[in-house]
């Protein structure tokens, strides 16, 4: 069936669309890990939370666009609150403490959403203007999914310029390279980190809103995606934009094509990609920092 060029092209577009969603979550997780060595598994909870906020906004009569404009900010605000109240306390306590704390937050987040909204999945309608399909060289492809691909590309380009061409970007790169030295130059890396954390949670929130019309909103949607996002980060390499982009594409394609070629073993395809990458490149494909022995 892959020999049918129309079917193949459609699956490529589906892969791209899923890759963009993974990217929106992966970039925040990766840079936070790269900059502060912080493993924040509750990143997915923010994604789920934003999806519920979007659902609530549309229930109250707001449009999808209103939800897309507001919900990520609410998510970033809650993310920062979580950071200053809880996450910061185990900043220097190592990965185990961070995993314990953030997995705890995952459970609490899931239960809170369950209490508030029930077990059943909720829907968020696509915006009317994107309800149709676009004819792309003979393939009818849903406009909304094309919009997702475009949104992902815009975010990638914007982040590239922010990281490579702005002072904040240079501070982030310096912090990822060598945090201790950046501090000897008078740079408050803690403050840079809080800002990066806020941007990362904002983008996870954007991911939650745009995923809602496709996958629905349900308790546990965070765990489903965070596992894939973790694999993206590990495969791409920590702390780098290029790594997050490449990792998202690899996993997005492996997941989509895995489901077509080997429906029973779709998840295996992803782990196979990860195992292969880690065998030959233990630090991932494009890590920001070569993990050397020097401090």
């Amino acid at each position: 069936m892959l020999l049918d060029p129309y079917f193949f092209a459609e699956q490529v577009l589906n892969s791209l669309q899923f890759s963009m969603l993974l990217f929106l979550l992966a970039i925040g997780l990766s840079v936070v890990f790269g900059l502060m060595d912080y493993l924040n598994l509750a990143h997915g909870t923010i994604y789920m939370f934003a999806a519920y906020v979007a659902f609530t906004i549309t229930q109250l009569g707001g449009s999808f666009w209103a939800a897309l404009a507001l919900a990520p900010f609410v998510a970033a605000a809650v993310g920062l609150l979580l950071y200053f109240l809880l996450l910061k306390r185990v900043e220097r306590s190592g990965h185990l403490a961070q995993v314990l704390l953030t997995v705890g937050i995952i459970y609490m987040g899931t239960d809170l959403m369950r209490i508030a909204y029930g077990d059943l999945p909720k829907g968020v309608a696509q915006p009317d203007m994107l309800n149709g399909a676009v004819n792309l060289f003979g393939i009818l492809y849903p406009s909304y999914r094309l919009f997702l691909i475009g949104l992902g590309l815009v975010v990638m380009i914007a982040l590239y310029f922010a990281l490579e061409r702005t002072r904040l970007g240079a501070l982030v790169r310096a912090g990822v390279d060598d945090r201790a030295t950046a501090e000897t130059l008078g740079i408050d890396i803690g403050k840079v980190f809080a800002l990066v954390f806020a941007i990362g949670t904002y983008l996870a929130g954007v991911g939650g809103v745009v995923a809602a019309p496709i996958f629905g909103v349900y308790p546990g949607m965070d765990v489903t995606i965070i596992i894939l996002v973790l694999i993206v980060v590990v495969v791409g390499g920590l702390g780098s934009l290029k790594g997050a982009i490449l990792g998202s594409l690899l996993i997005g394609f492996a997941d989509t094509f895995g489901k077509i070629l080997l429906p029973q073993f779709a998840m295996m395809m992803i782990y196979l990609v990860m195992a292969l990458v880690l065998t030959f490149r233990p630090t991932g494909l494009l890590p920001a920092r070569r993990f050397s022995t020097s401090g």
Binding site: R167, R173, T181, T184, G186, R290
Partner: protein, 236 residues
């Protein structure tokens, strides 16, 4: 000394269980160059890292302009006016030469302000390579970049950790010239060196560290005559 800009008073620092700095006290007077000499493992770098609070001293006081640095974060100490040029030079590989300097640039304290323009005038090599990646530079250029990065913060004092290490003799002379010029311009410096000739040429005052303690202190002239001290604690 009453005009001490930087003052260490009975500082003790441990790395793990090792007692590296065992009660070090000395002053760096404003406008002077003080050299900290000693063999490998004498505790020179750990002394500088204690001042920057990259390691936490367990006992003792470090004051800068009369202000206790205890409890201050490293970036706060840098902003207070202490610049640290590390032995490894610690150039950021993901940043261009220009970005390496730009992120450190601050108004700081000095009246004769260092700006990017002035850095490029005084370090023409760096101007030529401003768009290069930080780690594409030679060792000597990296050292100059590390010093430039410290200067644009316009500090009151510079801590220099072995600026001559691993460099060819010609480059060492260039670095020594830069340090000499800074000294003439009134920059206060605490210089850690293995290069005895260079250190004693630029320093007003020398402190000899051995096994975590101050073993001797005096002028460069006095140290040249103190054969016993040099043999025992410096091996020269």
């Amino acid at each position: 000394m009453s005009n001490a800009l930087l003052k260490l008073d009975d500082v003790h620092t441990y790395l793990g269980d090792s007692h590296i700095i065992q009660g070090v006290s000395f002053d760096v007077p404003a406008g002077k160059v003080v050299a900290l000499l000693g063999r490998n493992g004498a505790g020179k770098t750990t002394t500088l890292r204690s001042i920057m609070r990259m390691v936490q001293p367990r006992r003792g006081r470090i004051t800068f302009e009369g202000r206790d640095l205890a409890g201050m974060p490293t970036f706060g100490i840098a902003r207070a006016g202490i610049a640290f040029v590390q032995e490894t030079r610690a150039i950021f590989p993901s940043l261009s030469v220009e970005e390496n300097i730009a992120i450190a640039s601050r108004k700081g304290h000095a009246a004769n302000g260092w700006t990017m323009e002035r850095i490029y005038e005084d370090f023409p090599n760096l101007a030529q390579r401003r768009n290069n990646g930080g780690t594409q530079l030679s060792g000597g250029e990296q050292q100059m970049l590390a010093m430039a990065r410290a200067l644009v913060a316009n500090p009151r004092i510079m801590l220099l950790d072995e600026p001559s290490e691993g460099l060819a003799p010609l480059i060492v002379r260039q670095i020594a010239d830069i340090i000499m010029k800074l000294k003439q311009a009134g920059m206060t410096m605490l210089l850690v060196e293995q290069n005895f000739a260079m250190a004693t040429a630029v320093a007003d005052h020398v402190i000899v560290l051995g096994k975590g303690r101050v073993r001797w202190s005096g002028t460069s002239e006095e140290l040249r005559k103190a054969d016993e001290i040099r043999h025992t604690w410096l091996g020269v």
